[in-house]
């Protein structure tokens, strides 16, 4: 830990992963590029839990984000010798198995003595669903209001989003690698701030500041120049982009910065773009710990590639936790073909009509068919206006439905168009499309009182 020029303590939390699949280089670069106290790694998106649940069903030692093992190996010297602590929701649906894998890596590298793994569990509600429904918790879909009983036999995973408290406990028991399941993304950053500064669990403004610090860096480089529309042509050296770091202060204010000699850009516009990302009602960003008010954020430039956030207000949370439920929802397949100039778009349109007629003639049943013309209207629809003689257009044709055999049959109907449909067609080297099972997301709420978290610190 270090202090600022007035002698106040500062805590530095580096974001090293914005989702499972993010840049493998980032965690190591974050601990080697300069001094940091914590490394925060966010692996879980809405449907990730169900993918992990399927993996665990096949092998009880699986069900966690396996990228995390490599990430830890790449930062082990910093953790073992320099005291950097790691917090990650990499545990997925199997935090104990994830901890075992991490212990294995520590042993292999001869640093077992220097590693204390904190494991947070209790978010997994899958074994308790029937008990909860019977006890009067309908786990109704937050968007449609439907009771979970309507899809009960198709549920694959169910996890409560848990807050910062168990992570704070693991840190207070000296864990230097904390592994959680479905904790909120923001708790991974808020917990070390709360722990280091000793913020009370009802100090709403400071807790809200910690949540917004977490929101700012939870998507990795998306606040430091990545995916930044503002003045994008002038953002330097994206190949060497620096991931963001929170420099937290005891009063709740914090600075977002990145290591020197890295690319990208941290500016008021780049941070603002991330603040509004995936935003609902900005007055009420609801988390298990606190409700944060995004309309109270003050933002100011604080030097080159430094932006300061302060003045953030919060208020008490609700008595519910959000639950992320995943269920089987049929099958889908998407296939593509590319049509070239001249008349690329009319050719693709004719191919679409021919394909629809053939599917119809075969009597195949789908819940939904979608055609997109990539290069014409796929991303902006009719807002894009009329195309102006494009050099090529990709026909992108998708179907979804409950009947797997019908989806399979569809995948055989795309490629024949190469020889028996409109001319000047290519781009079919991938062969026929793959049938995918759809695992859909069912957001619900549950009373906080029914979820008990547990912290174990392994030495």
């Amino acid at each position: 830990m270090t202090t600022d020029k007035n002698g106040g303590k500062i805590v530095r939390i580096a974001s090293g992963q914005g989702f499972w699949g993010d840049w493998l280089e980032a965690p190591r670069r974050q601990v080697e590029g300069g001094d940091v106290d914590y490394l925060m790694l966010d692996y879980l998106a809405e449907v990730t839990m169900s993918i992990l649940q399927k993996q665990k069903e096949r092998d009880p030692k699986m069900g966690y984000a396996r990228d995390f093992v490599g990430a830890i190996e790449s930062v082990l010297p910093a953790v073992a010798k320099r005291g950097v602590r790691v917090i990650a929701n990499a545990g997925g649906v199997n935090p104990p198995a994830c901890a075992d894998a991490i212990r294995g890596v520590a042993q292999k590298n001869g640093v077992s003595d220097a590693i204390k793994i904190g494991v947070v569990t209790g978010d997994d509600l899958l074994p308790r669903i029937d008990e909860l429904i019977a006890a009067g918790h309908p786990l109704a879909n937050m968007e449609t209001g439907e009771a979970l009983s309507t899809v009960r036999d198709r549920v694959l995973s169910a996890n409560a989003y848990i807050g910062s408290t168990p992570i704070v406990e693991a840190l207070s028991r000296s864990a230097n690698i904390v592994i959680t399941g479905r904790s909120t993304d923001t708790a991974l950053t808020m917990a070390p701030l709360r722990f280091e500064f000793g913020w009370a669990d009802n100090d709403w403004d400071k807790l809200a500041s910690g949540i917004i610090a977490g929101h700012t860096i939870e998507c990795g480089a998306q606040c430091s120049g990545g995916n930044c529309l503002y003045d994008w042509q002038s953002i330097p050296d994206l190949a060497n982009v620096g991931y963001p770091i929170v420099e937290g202060h005891a009063d709740g204010s914090f600075v977002i910065y990145k290591h020197p000699n890295t690319g990208g850009r941290i500016s008021v516009p780049s941070v603002t773009e991330q603040l509004v990302y995936e935003m609902g009602d900005p007055n009420s960003y609801i988390t298990p710990d606190v409700i944060a008010d995004f309309t109270t954020i003050h933002l100011e430039a604080a030097g080159e590639n430094r932006v300061r956030l302060f003045g953030i207000k919060g208020r008490p949370p609700t008595d519910k936790l959000k639950v992320s439920i995943a269920y089987r929802a049929g099958f889908k397949a998407v296939g593509t073909l590319v049509y070239s100039w001249p008349d690329a778009y009319p050719k693709a349109q004719l191919a679409d009509r021919v394909l629809r007629e053939r599917l119809d003639n075969l009597g195949l049943k789908f819940d939904h068919i979608m055609t997109e013309f990539v290069g014409v209207s796929a991303t902006h629809g009719p807002l894009a206006g009329e195309p102006h003689d494009p050099p090529e257009v990709q026909l992108r044709f998708g179907v979804r439905g409950e009947n797997k055999a019908d989806i399979e049959r569809f995948t055989r109907e795309i490629v024949p168009l190469v020889l028996n449909g409109p001319p000047s067609v290519t781009g079919f080297a991938g062969g026929r499309p793959k049938v995918e099972e759809i695992v859909a997301y069912w957001p619900a709420l549950v009373d906080k009182t029914v979820v008990q978290t547990n912290v174990e610190v392994l030495t």
């Binding site: 809405e46 449907v47 968007e143 995916n227 529309l229 503002y230 516009p269 603002t272 773009e273 991330q274 603040l275 509004v276 990302y277 995936e278 935003m279 609902g280 009602d281 900005p282 007055n283 995004f294 309309t295 109270t296 954020i297 003050h298 933002l299 929802a329 889908k332 998407v334 939904h368 979608m370 997109e372 990539v374 796929a378 991303t379 902006h380 629809g381 009719p382 807002l383 894009a384 102006h388 992108r396 998708g398 179907v399 979804r400 759809i438 695992v439 859909a440 997301y441 957001p443």
Partner: protein
Amino acid sequence: MKVRLLDVAHARSGDKGDTANVGLIALKPEWFPFLQKYVTLDRVGAHFKDVITGPVERYELPNLNALNFLLHGALDGGGTLSLKTDAQGKVFSTAMLRMVLDVPDGEATALKLPALKLPDRQ
């Protein structure tokens, strides 16, 4: 005078289920009141009427010189259900920036708003 949002704002979008959000941010702080006045719920609803199936919600963040819009029924069911290229609503932001507004000349000049330049097609 015609003013295109792309020339006065930047934006980012994301998803929550079948809803896309678009955060619209003024390129200059002094242009935020202009966005507040002209980028109304009705105007955005009309802009996206052939693209989304549900209603629109609008929120103001004057502290960030930003507006936030929730576009419901935007993502063909959303997440893994969606058959769309943009299943997660990542580029609804740029679709929003296509919006062209009619602004009285005096008002546009006072704010130094850039006029829309129509491209030469032929």
